[in-house]
């Protein structure tokens, strides 16, 4: 971003002339080339394969697939699995909102008042997630069991009915999602909050009479790119997650991630699995685009 300084003020010189456009672009390519190349070869190409598979018909006997532009596949899988698709989006959405609510005060405190202990807190946020998700989920399964160490005491003092259970309900799934994706929310929030210039905050404190105004009018708007990034990095992978639903869920909590897995592994129905994946990604794209518009913000690219 450039700002044009008023050149009629004493002591201010015009900014140095822009270098030629070609040279500017070259810098971008040099910097971005390794990553872009990596993504093109190892992501774009498999993605194109996937899209192509979603339009294919596979011979049921030889399992060979040929692209036949079978667009009807999309309509069919949506018809069959729209419930699970919606469920995944709702669960992920609720989990993301919970995570944003939990992570924002935390990120705020670490960024503004963490001082020397900032990195310590960040590491403590992330270290639990170096331990395998199987271990974490096993632990939660044990802790949230009907007669387990959390529910049993509450039941014995009568706070909960005797046959109350958390596991095998959508609550457990959402709680699992919220737990497992919290660092993906907290880190971008922290990063965005941390770079807010304290002097701006101070100046706002001088201008506005109460703290709430400072927060709502200065800090929060400046944090919006971080909130958006946090939302993105949490909601999107959570919507495709199948592990939490399969381990912590019950009979009516099946989400689209499980369907994709089943279609691919159990049924060898590669076109259906690919079509569902493509639809999931498209739904994310559209949803985020709309969300950005509603926020009244600039194009989605600014936040990615």
């Amino acid at each position: 971003m450039e700002r044009h300084l008023p050149t009629d003020l004493p002591g201010v010189e015009a900014p140095p002339p822009r270098r030629s456009k070609g040279r500017r672009q070259k810098g971008a390519y040099i910097l971005g080339a390794p990553a872009i190349l990596w993504l093109v070869v190892l992501f774009i190409v498999p993605m194109i394969t996937m899209v192509s598979l979603s339009l294919s018909t596979c011979d049921p006997i030889t399992l060979a697939c040929q692209n036949t532009w079978h667009f009807a596949e999309f309509r069919q899988v949506v018809q069959q699995y729209h419930t699970q698709l919606l469920r995944a989006i709702v669960y992920a959405g609720v989990a993301t909102v919970i995570d944003l609510a939990i992570a924002f005060p935390l990120a705020y405190w670490i960024a503004f008042y963490g001082g020397r202990k900032k990195n310590f807190f960040l590491l403590m946020l992330l270290v639990p997630f170096f331990v395998s998700f199987v271990i974490r989920t096993t632990a939660w399964q044990f802790l949230l069991a009907d007669q387990g160490p959390i529910l049993q005491p509450l039941k014995s003092i009568g706070l909960l009915p005797e046959n109350y259970h958390v596991l095998a309900t959508w609550i457990a799934v959402v709680a699992g999602l919220a737990y497992n994706y919290l660092p993906f929310t907290a880190l971008p929030l922290y990063v965005a909050l941390e770079r807010i210039d304290r002097h701006v905050v101070e100046a706002a404190g001088d201008l506005y009479s109460n703290r709430r105004s400072v927060f709502m009018r200065v800090i929060f708007p400046l944090a919006i790119p971080g909130i958006f990034a946090a939302f993105l990095l949490t909601f999107v992978p959570a919507a495709g997650d199948f592990v939490n639903a399969s381990i912590l869920g019950g009979t009516n909590t099946t989400v689209i991630g499980q369907i994709i897995r089943s279609a691919f592994l159990d049924n060898s129905d590669y076109p259906a699995a690919s079509a569902l994946s493509a639809i999931l990604m498209a739904a994310m794209l559209i949803g985020i685009f709309l969300y950005a518009k509603v926020l009244g913000s600039r194009t989605i690219e600014e936040y990615i």
Binding site: P46, I48, T49, M50, V51, S52, L53, L55, S56, C58, D59, P60, I61, T62, L63, A64, C65, Q66, N67, T68, W69, T83, Q84, T138, Q141, F142, A145, D146, Q147, G148, N163, H165, L167, A168, S246, I247, G249, G250, T251, N252, T254, Q258, I259, S262, F264, L265, D266, N267, S268, Y270, G296, R298, T299
Partner: protein, 419 residues
């Protein structure tokens, strides 16, 4: 100093709000066009990736596995064996005593791995992509179960090497009737059982005092919210068929629909449709009664969960087998045959059986486990060495005739646990 903003707010809004411009249109069209173009290119030459053709290409060498071919094979003194976890005895210092014994006796070094977690994953990650391209998947012996499609595909595609029936003396002499000439592999052309197991009903005697005689107990509203079922089309479907009094092996699609209806009735009572972690729910008492695998319950008993018992309902229990077979890309077939027959020696089998506690394919090991290994609990368990009652109760799975058949089965039963 006035407080007027430097820039008119409406102008600012106009400058910063995005519009779908003509440039954007061209851009998106360009991207879309590029993608379509690439796809067209791919369509012309067939898709790359997992499901490329040659699915039915079969073994490259047409007479692979016949007597002459076996005559030409020699021992290479090395073997790659891929198995399920916890299926091989473990001794001190990471060792597998029975494998070490084998190496001492025959000089064949065994490279033992445990990559198989479930049949469909293994098929899609370790068998189909490699073998359909004619590439080795890295092992000489793999172990697949008969209650899922990959074993059927392997045999139907002709991707397994036929066994050398001249070199199976131990198997011929000691193998139990339950694993000889199974319906999924007549005459044991390609497979030898590694271990078998029962899918039966497990229940917690702490909460369930009645005796269990029928599978209908899983439909009992008394246990609402405490019932565990398998989230697996094959197991769930077969149980449903047993519940309506049909024999799964001879059932028809009409039967399947009826079974699915009965299972849908049960759904409000079910706590969850589990995979392998049904045992955790039983142990933590989240479920009081559940579909179960025999070996898991046996091991839970050893761990101290002695209120968990098994029940064999009058309708029968499903009997599955994990089978050893050789993929056609195996590089050491003769060493593989040597090992596969070696484990049917009752003394060898006793050591392995004493560890994993599933259904033993060698009945003669019973005595050895009881006396030499001093483990009467295992030796006397009908879950490990089936008595006549257990043998009679064992029901084979339905064998899908073709992929359309499999699809019908899946479409009937999957909506129950994936709905």
């Amino acid at each position: 100093m006035t407080d007027d903003p430097i820039i008119d707010p409406s102008l600012l809004r106009g400058l910063t709000q995005s519009r779908f411009t003509r440039r954007d249109l061209f851009r998106y069209a360009g991207v879309a066009g590029g993608a379509l173009g690439l796809s067209a290119f791919l369509a012309a030459c067939g898709t790359k990736g997992v499901a490329t053709g040659s699915g039915g290409a079969g073994k490259p060498n047409a007479n692979m596995g016949d007597a002459a071919w076996w005559g030409q094979q020699t021992l290479h003194k090395t073997l790659d064996f891929d198995n399920w976890p916890y299926y091989m005895d473990i001794g001190p210092n990471n060792s597998h005593p029975s494998l070490d014994e084998f190496t001492k006796k025959t000089g064949i070094k065994v490279n033992y791995t445990e990559n198989i977690q479930d049949n469909p994953s293994y098929w899609n990650q370790h068998i189909f992509p490699q073998l359909s391209h004619g590439q080795s998947q890295g092992h000489d012996i793999i172990v697949l179960t008969n209650n899922d499609y990959p074993l059927g595909y392997m045999l139907n595609f002709g991707w397994a090497i036929p066994l050398d029936h001249g070199s199976m003396p131990n198997f011929d002499k000691y193998a139990s009737k339950l694993v000889t000439n199974p319906s999924y592999d007549p005459g044991n052309t390609y497979t030898m059982a590694w271990q078998s197991g029962y899918t039966l009903i497990a229940y917690n005697t702490k909460y369930i005092k009645d005796e269990i005689t029928t599978v209908d107990v899983l439909w009992d509203p008394k246990y609402k919210g405490k019932i565990g079922m398998f989230g697996n089309a094959s197991e769930l479907g077969c149980l449903g068929l047993l519940a309506i009094g049909k024999d799964p092996a001879t059932s028809t699609p009409a039967d399947w629909t009826a079974a699915a209806a009965k299972l849908q009735e049960q759904k409000p009572l079910v706590r969850s449709y589990y995979d392998q972690d049904y045992i955790k729910a039983l142990k933590s008492e989240d479920t009081w009664i559940s579909m179960a695998w025999s070996g898991d319950i046996f091991q839970a008993g050893i761990q101290g969960y002695d209120t968990l018992k098994t029940a064999v309902p009058q309708e029968g229990v499903m009997f599955w087998t994990d089978n050893m077979l050789m993929p056609y890309t195996a590089s050491n077939p003769k060493d593989a045959m040597t090992y596969m027959d070696y484990v049917y020696d009752p003394k060898v089998q006793a050591v392995i059986e004493d560890y994993n506690n599933y259904v033993c394919p060698v009945p003669s090991s019973k005595g050895i486990i009881g006396t030499e290994l001093h483990d009467p609990a295992v030796a006397n368990s009908p879950l490990v060495f089936p008595n006549a009652a257990m043998v009679a109760a064992a029901k084979p799975y339905y064998q899908w005739k073709n992929t359309q058949d499999l699809k019908t089965w899946n479409d009937t039963f999957q909506p129950i646990y994936l709905g």
